[in-house]
């Protein structure tokens, strides 16, 4: 018990890093993903194609590779070459990567809305942006909650990848203690912390789903 109290401090610190990376990435990736999805379903074939290529790139290469690239290789890329400290580099990687996945979730949601909704909005005189904002996206929000919740939980766990940038997140903190003290206890505590975080998210998404359940369809 004493031991537990001693390791909980550093593990809580690691959890703080994990949470920061998660929250900032999530808050930025969702709107970016939505924007990408809107471009993707738009009638502008060229930019839609660009987004398609972007999604292919982001989903087709490992997130860890992307993170390493942004941290180590980006400074040497001509024109856009910038050297990012570890924290912003991690955020950029997560946002760019997860926005691609979120974009596909939103695209599926947008395309699942019945054509009749667009037609009804159109004959009432709503413009395309008005139709999207007032009619389509509110319905999309409800439909994408389950897959969005899935992806969000994955993001929590994927934050553990930042150890490659030598950042002290929850998992790396745990591993450090394990290697120092020759006990697996920190892993159990870390698992409990992850479970707690994902439980909170699961409950939050369940709450949102219930709130949207006032209507069917």
């Amino acid at each position: 018990m004493d031991y537990l109290m001693r390791i909980i401090g550093p593990l809580a610190e690691g959890t703080g890093v994990t949470l920061q990376v998660f929250v900032i990435s999530f808050v930025l990736a969702v709107p970016l993903g939505l924007a990408l999805a809107l471009v993707r379903v738009s009638r502008f074939a060229f930019v839609s194609g660009l987004v398609n290529g972007y999604i292919w790139l982001m989903r087709g290469t490992p997130l860890m590779l992307q993170m390493l690239f942004i941290y180590f290789a980006l400074p040497f890329v001509p024109v856009i070459g910038v050297r990012l400290p570890d924290f912003p580099a991690a955020i950029v990687a997560f946002v760019l990567n997860y926005a691609a996945y979120f974009a596909e979730i939103f695209r599926a949601g947008i395309q699942s809305i019945d054509r009749g909704q667009y037609e009804a909005a159109r004959v009432l005189g709503l413009s395309y942006p008005q139709t999207m904002r007032r009619i389509v996206l509110p319905q999309v929000c409800k439909r994408v909650l389950p897959p969005l919740s899935n992806e969000t939980i994955t993001l929590v766990k994927d934050t553990s990848l930042i150890y490659v940038l030598a950042m002290n997140d929850l998992l790396r903190a745990a591993r450090g203690i394990v290697q120092r003290d020759f006990t697996t206890m920190p892993f159990v505590v870390a698992a409990a912390f992850y479970l707690l975080m994902t439980l909170v998210l699961t409950l939050a998404f369940q709450h949102l789903e219930r709130k949207h359940a006032v209507y069917d369809g």
Partner: protein, 254 residues
């Protein structure tokens, strides 16, 4: 003679290799109720959808209240009005769909006031009394806080009618408004449309309800194979159909 509310001349519509409309011409005068009947696939719904630009035509001309929505030049080039004009012209027409197409995330009242607020920029307190009056008219004032999923098909369609009327259209287009309804629910919807007819709303109704067409329509149009084969006063057409295909169709229906 006042200009017609709807004036379609030689409208052609082609889906890939199929010519769905082959030169449809129809003029609808103010206050007229025109029923469009005909077998499935005859092009009657497509024709209706061309009138408010849900479908684009490949040749012909459509004028709404004297304004040209689309025309075709002598060398066969089909030219639509600029987008802003299309929106303005089409806003004069309300439309009711076979499958209602109510907005499921909004309540009955919100469905009715959405377009007046978003499109016309009305304030909530300006449109709510009018919306309530419309809902009272279609008999659904007590359901105004319900979501569409809680309504029967007939109720949904009556909300859809109220929603269209809230934009104060000059013309109402009905695309098979009772075809998706259980037989016992068609009556309430037809009654609502009949009341509109009594108020001299100009209406074009694509329907399979022959009794309704006979009683309510001032004129009945029979379409088959993408063409209008007969367009005559309802009583005449039903009493003595001229075209053999009209006769065959009516015999089948009745």
């Amino acid at each position: 003679m006042a200009r017609p509310m709807i004036n379609a001349r030689g409208v052609h519509k082609r889906f890939a290799a199929v010519e769905v409309l082959r030169g449809v011409s129809l003029a609808v005068d103010k206050g007229e109720v025109v029923a469009v009947i005909g077998p499935s696939g005859s092009g009657k719904s497509t024709f209706l959808r061309c009138l408010n630009h849900l479908e684009t035509i490949s040749r012909g001309r459509i004028d709404i209240e004297g304004e040209t929505l689309v025309s075709t030049t002598a060398d066969g080039v089909c030219r639509y009005a600029p987008d802003a004009d299309i929106r303005r012209i089409c806003r004069r027409m309300g439309m009711v769909f076979q499958h209602f197409n109510l907005f499921p995330h909004l309540t009955v009242l919100q469905n009715v006031i959405e377009a007046p607020i978003t499109v016309k920029g009305l304030r909530r307190d300006e449109i709510v009394p009018r919306a309530e009056e419309l809902l009272r008219k279609v008999g659904l004032l007590d359901r105004q806080t319900s979501h569409p999923s809680r309504l029967s098909g007939g109720q949904k369609q009556r909300v859809a009618i109220a929603r269209a009327l809230a934009m104060e259209p000059d013309i109402m287009l009905f695309d098979e408004p009772t075809s998706a309804l259980d037989p016992e629910l068609t009556g309430e919807v037809l009654r609502t449309i009949r009341e509109l007819a009594e108020e001299h709303m100009t209406m074009l109704v694509v329907t399979h309800e022959m009794a309704f067409a006979r009683e309510v329509a001032s004129r009945v149009v029979f379409m088959d194979g993408g063409e209008i084969l007969e367009a005559r006063p309802a009583r005449e057409l039903f009493a003595a159909p001229e075209h053999p295909r009209t006769r065959a169709f009516l015999e089948n229906m009745l």
